[in-house]
């Protein structure tokens, strides 16, 4: 396992405009982020020999072959569509690392696009039994069922979840790119309408159009490239049964398994991490992940997030960009570039001083797919 530690690095990040982008097609955004990531890495499209993309619900043509075609790349050594839903970003970086270390390819482009703000809503995928007949649509009600169970079992409160929303909003206010920059108080959170009681609107991530991409290469090659390399120190995955009704232990999400692997590979402990990027489909996702990753004990996530502990200047800053709750909803690609930027030291007003080690997670489905990446500068 340790053979992958520090062997590869993220050397390029690609962004696009973000927010409501009715004038952009999904394919244009996808290509824009990819081109920008390749430029940022100081490479040309023909240097890319691996492409990993993930399923985009609003345009199913955004596949590996389409991106290869749009970039004009003649031939690839690795090309795949990955589907662990929201966890795909981190999972693809792990796959790229393994493929590079296996000698299969050299420079892997990993891209994501979604247009949930302005594209027509897509029907939820089938295969979930009778959920829709009872009125369970999409991930949010499923996550709310888990969050309420956490409240029942451990006494977690809505105010504690509100503390998470308020904290990351403060971070978003320091980020010029963030969609939600108006100040938020705990009272605003408590007064916001319910989506799925006990979760309020301000417990939920926002909707966004945009794309992001990155380039992963070997640590050896990274030294010759223009950006300060951000090394992939450790990684892991954990996946539990998707359906929260029949999951063996509904409050176990796969994050614990995933984190355990990542910490073991990196040879560090939670206290060594300077900045966290936690997948925040809802405020509850942050609470449960802090527990599962070992930053606090099971059941203590609610009190852990209080008193500024997860804010900038606190014990362990979480989601310094504003996350999916306040910056932008680009699933795993909200957190990955932010943690990489923190380790590059380019976060301006929201920079965590001397950040050396960052941990970023991605989750998918009803908090059932999980990826952990531990990165260092």
């Amino acid at each position: 396992m340790a053979k992958f530690k520090d062997k590869c690095a993220i050397v390029g990040l690609g962004y696009t405009p973000q927010g409501k982008l009715p004038d952009w097609t999904v394919r244009e955004l996808f290509l824009e982020a990819s081109r920008n990531a390749i430029d940022d890495a100081g490479l040309k499209p023909h240097d890319i020999d691996g492409i990993l993309v993930e399923l985009c619900w609003t345009d199913p043509t955004t596949q590996c072959w389409a991106l290869q075609q749009d970039l004009g790349i003649k031939e690839l050594s690795l090309s795949a569509n990955y589907d662990s839903m929201g966890a795909s970003g981190g999972c693809k970086i792990q796959l790229a690392t393994m493929a590079i270390e296996a000698g299969l390819c050299k420079n892997v482009l990993i891209a994501f696009v979604e247009k949930t703000a302005t594209a027509p809503a897509v029907p939820y995928r089938g295969g979930m039994g009778t959920m829709m007949a009872y009125g369970l649509f999409g991930a949010m009600p499923g996550i709310a069922l888990l969050a309420h169970r956490h409240m029942i079992q451990y006494g977690t409160t809505s105010e504690q979840l509100g503390e998470v929303a308020v904290t990351v909003r403060k971070h978003a206010m320091l980020n010029p790119k963030a969609q939600m920059r108006a100040p938020m108080t705990l009272e605003d959170h408590q007064k916001s309408r319910y989506v799925a009681w006990p979760l309020h609107l301000l417990d939920c991530s926002i909707l966004s159009d945009g794309a992001r991409a990155c380039v992963v290469t070997s640590a050896k090659h990274a030294k010759d490239l223009p950006q300060p390399p951000v090394y992939i120190m450790g990684f892991g995955q954990g996946h539990v049964v998707m359906d929260p009704v029949h999951r063996h232990d509904p409050l176990s999400t796969g994050a614990a398994r995933s984190g355990k692997h990542a910490f073991k590979m990196a040879g560090i402990k939670p206290k060594d991490v300077d900045v966290l990027g936690l997948y925040d489909a809802t405020t509850y996702n942050i609470v449960t992940q802090l527990e599962e990753l070992g930053f606090c004990k099971r059941g203590e996530g609610g009190s852990f997030v209080q008193n500024g502990r997860i804010g900038l200047g606190g014990e362990i800053p979480v989601n310094t960009s504003g996350g999916m709750l306040s910056e932008v909803y680009l699933q795993g690609w909200t957190g990955i570039p932010e943690v990489v930027s923190q380790l590059r030291g380019t976060c301006g007003e929201r920079q965590v001083k001397d950040a050396e080690i960052g941990l970023v997670t991605n989750q998918g489905g009803f908090i059932c797919f999980h990826s952990t990446l531990i990165l260092r500068r």
């Binding site: 009778t130 829709m132 007949a133 009872y134 009125g135 069922l145 009681w197 029949h246």
Partner: protein
């Protein structure tokens, strides 16, 4: 209560058809492995192989007691389908036989739903083809 726009029908497949046929007769069925005795919900685990022990022998369709306890619930204020009225409850209960089950609670205000409260399965006719098992409060 009659909804003006019909709710989406559940997915009826050859594998789960006995479940829906039984629901029309106000019976809740589970599948029970003939080798290890593990109960499974036939509407979520449709494969004919036991997920607990891997037995390929056809499982028994058994009538469940229809009794359980509330595990968690939410109240949907945001409605994603016009067949539903706002503030409907989604409840997960643990059935006596082991499997958990999702349904709506009937017969009491949302504010009276409590964790651990006993529930029984009742049956709600949606249309000629589908009768949906639902929860209602039960005596202890």
């Amino acid at each position: 209560m009659t909804d003006q726009i019909p709710k989406p029908d559940p997915e009826v497949t050859p594998e789960n058809k006995p479940y829906w046929d039984a629901a029309k007769n106000h019976e809740l069925l589970l599948k029970k492995c003939v080798d290890c005795g593990h109960y499974r919900s036939p509407i979520y685990i449709t494969a004919n192989i036991c997920p607990n022990c891997g037995s390929r022998k056809p499982a028994d369709w058994v009538k469940a007691s229809g009794r359980g306890k509330v595990y968690t619930w939410v109240v949907m204020h945001r409605v994603f389908h016009p067949g539903f009225e706002p503030e409907y409850p989604l409840v997960i209960a643990e059935l006596e036989e082991g499997p958990r089950m999702l349904a709506n609670m009937r017969g009491i205000p949302n504010s009276e739903i409590k964790a651990g409260m006993p529930v029984k399965v009742i049956f709600e006719k949606l249309n000629e083809n589908i009768t949906l098992p639902q929860f209602a409060p039960a005596d202890k």
